[in-house]
Symmetry: D2
Subunit: 330 residues, 4 copies
């Protein structure tokens, strides 16, 4: 395993500093809901059990895939607590602390730590437009407050600001950031980040948040991957990461092509595009696989149904990812 | 006065339905901070007193100018309570309920109502991308829950989605929305919204959120204005609105040109652009006018200082908006 | 008439400098095509005759509406020559010199002058990204070369760069630019441009290129209007401009609201959006009015047909803009 | 060599159909200018000689790097003729046919063929906004007219439209397109294009137009590369491509990292960003290497000078790419 859980989160560990994640497969977990949109704890436990069985290196809750933007503060705290409980120290639990600006993110940070998160993942401020000086200060304030490692979450699709690679490496050197989850869709900037990071001794651990270009990200310098599709096929990403670790690029590429074809499940919905199509498909696939009970989405989205479900089913079937092809759940 | 306060907010009113705002000048109040970034209540009271003395028709707290994105939930509730207390039923208090998606906005709505807001102002969902079907559902859910009028806040600069005029008018006809604050920067769409609204009997009260094109918005069909600059020169906007009411377009235009020149205070900062330059300038002007004690900004922004303050001062001086030119504060 | 034709264009005028346009209604003419997509000269003559009969102050050919981006160089030259011939010196003919970068625009400028244009209209450079220093230099080079007035065409929708108001006023003061056609969709920036221009003595004549917010643009400082919809209802824009000149804002507003309703013809097409829907509707309306023979569009667009034509017809009928309601063509 | 020159272009070949490029390194040549901005033919010959000596598989003139947007039609034709003459049939010459809309692009196509181009490269239409149905028709019309292979050029930075992968593959199957040069900056879409292309039997030859993520593009399915930086270091790209061909991914990655570091020359200019900084740096490097005589840029850009030249020189020196480290020019 390439990571180490935060012993502090179980209340039994020594006072030694927690090693941050050094890479690996860290799925951004969906948040299973009941039909009336409360947390479906048994489904969440099954999902976590399955991911751990597949050999993932960490769990990332309350990311964009994890519905952070939709969850009330109470629900957010509960998601973290349940994940920490279910993980039981076997892998670290990272929690998104998604909120608009510094003051509000600090509250999310406090709550995430109190709920037992082993690390937090924070975006650039959003809603009010900020630029690099403010974004830098934002992370510095978070880093100063946090008792756990802070990862920067570069996701301009959601926050409409791109994190500057030079700034990120400087914040890594300054001990503010432990790493970056890059969901920027900008592989050119990611290459530059990786080169700068390496030139400075690698203060940051770099993760790509994309599903279908992980092989290129590994070549560029990613040490880990945070793909939403790993909810549906964690084994594939674990195999791809193992191939990367042993330098078997042909195997990496083959696995990536297979996973990229599977990612088409996020493009089949006729009723919705974007977030609802993506997370809607992940949840639908998990429902069809018997991992979660419902494919419910949070308001104002509606669960996929009818032909949209059938389309997901067809792709899963072709990929051999429907029971009884699946290994039995833990 | 073109508006009527919510009697229910003082706890003494009858059960008659609250009349929504029918237009007028509704400044989006800045949130005065102490140097250590807590709410500066005496400054807030002075600001409100001054705006009421100028004859504004409502107070909008926790908008973009009001730092909603920066305030913790506790601070938000306090801002509303203090505004309601200081307004004392003389004009309605509208509160922004700015948060990412429906579930979180509902919490903001509950809290705003509990704190005594007479109406709430909600944006499209943000962070996760949504489209018109989801945005429509979002407002429908808010409208169903709310006991006070709901206004839609069209501010693509912050939420990166433009509200569809047809949808807005339909939500007005359906009783979901009482009106729209348009900060879209899209006067063509606003004209269309106004035309559609009029053709359907005017279910929506339309406000422009822009400072320097209010005259055009009035011509198009705005009944009110929510300009950040009214913190600094409420008398100017009240005069312009009165001229609009009596159909004196030459006076409207003259006043608007004067206010547009004053708006240059938001373009002088050398150290920052965007939100920090705009609200930074408003607060600096209010400090120079003796209305608020400090021009502090929330993290991760810093207050304007040095030459940036002098630049604001020079423009205010030219405009005759520095003491002792100013009327004494109430 | 608020403008003066270029006597030089008829070959008979004295050597006195041509007065630039001082405002007024300057329709951006559509370019009528035959079914096999050659210039339909009789239709073009009828269109020009009708516009002159309505009392327009200038003719703008080869703008965005005029299909400049679609016309070969040969067709462009022919369009200008035919317009100059048909105008016969009664009003000036302005020609778009739309091309990517300076060297190519200079060729368009030379050709436009040779074909008899009384003024040229140039955008910011496009395709390769430029910034204000390059855009300024671009206009300076054009201004140095041109023997006719140069107008800046601010149309970020097409060129993806917004012209800076300060730069424009400076170029006006320097004698490089005679005016600006603002199709920026940014009324806030336009207000600022107008204020700066007035403060500097008004070196620029400002035109708005928008159809439905002309009243606001007049209030802000526009002296003229270049609306595509004036192909379809030139009388409406001439009436609105006359009302503006005499300060009758109620009449301006009423006319603008009527024209804004008419502009819905550009939103009815089911088969296409954007340019094809807009110019497609203008040409269809002109065909239905008997002004041009065909509503053909250039490749890769197709003419509106079927229900899309009926939808335009219905709106024109409601507006009383179909024969025999129309005044007879000249 | 993975490509085959168009025998027709030398006037001596048989009538057999020309094989399109099947991949390889195809540098987008800069267009060397004299100080007074005319074509510097001796420099152009030296550049071509050097690229051929390095073993490139084709020459792409009049791309974005090649100043197509700046060159007059006369200059464009001359650039093609000189390149065809200098290449002398050893590798094919591809020519950009960059213009706004179909009618104008057809003229560029005719001229490029007449000047001897072995293939043409066309973008989506620009200036007037188009959507997939129009873009498809655009390419179909070009394909019908062309006697040489047509490549699609996906460059949203310049044309502000992204080409749809499904459409591209269908146009490949239909014989309209021979391949795609992807400069989209969207590696996720590129992966999808590559998968779809492979699933359909590979009708398209895919090239990436990016300099620093070629390794990832190879993994995804690119068969070739069109990097501006290959003007400066053609040997590096040829080595990387050879490593790709033999499946030596470690060597690919090492070479790519080295080239990515070299690409920093495009980020050093203090006076300009974007196109001028990129092509300005390529030309400056070529001047410092003794390949071209001047680093002149077309209007409205200015050549890099002073510290900006020194910054490029420093990076080249570190990379061992300054004489006498360089191999002697042919």
């Amino acid at each position: 395993m390439t990571t180490s859980a935060n012993p502090g989160s179980t209340g039994t560990g020594p006072a030694t500093p927690r090693p941050p994640l050094t890479g690996g497969v860290v799925p951004p977990l969906v948040t299973p809901l009941t039909t009336d949109r409360t947390l479906d704890v048994p489904s969440f436990e099954r999902l976590i059990g399955r991911l751990l069985a597949a050999g993932v290196d960490g769990l990332f809750v309350l990311g964009s895939t994890g519905e952070a933007a939709f969850c009330t503060d109470e629900l957010r705290a509960r998601v973290i607590r349940e994940a920490v409980r279910a993980a039981a120290g076997r892998v670290p639990v990272l929690a998104g602390v998604i909120d608009t600006q510094t003051g509000r993110v600090l509250r999310q940070l406090d709550a995430a730590q109190e709920a037992g998160a082993d690390a937090v993942v924070a975006t650039a401020p959003f809603y009010a437009v900020t630029h690099t000086p403010q974004i830098r200060r934002h992370f510095e304030i978070l880093g100063e407050r946090a008792d756990v490692p802070v990862y920067a979450y570069d996701i301009p699709l959601c926050v409409h600001t791109k994190l500057d690679p030079d700034m990120l490496v400087e914040l890594g050197l300054g001990g503010v950031l432990a790493g970056v989850k890059d969901s920027s869709g900008d592989d050119i900037s990611f290459r530059r980040l990786a080169l700068r990071n390496r030139a400075e001794g690698g203060p940051l651990t770099l993760f790509t948040g994309h599903e279908v270009v992980v092989d290129g990200a590994y070549l560029a310098g990613a040490e880990g991957v945070v793909p939403g599709l790993a909810n549906v096929d964690p084994d594939g990403y674990v195999r791809m990461h193992a191939a990367f670790r042993r330098g078997d690029w042909a195997a990496v590429r083959t696995e990536q092509d297979r996973l990229a074809a599977l990612m088409e499940i996020t493009r089949t919905a006729s009723s919705v595009t974007g977030w609802g199509a993506g997370v809607g498909a992940f949840k639908t696939a998990l429902m069809l696989q018997g991992v979660i009970a419902h494919n419910q989405l949070p308001e104002p989205f509606e669960a996929l149904d009818g032909d949209d479900v059938e389309a997901v089913k067809a792709i899963l079937g072709t990929a051999g990812l429907l029971p009884p092809s699946l290994p039995p759940l833990p």
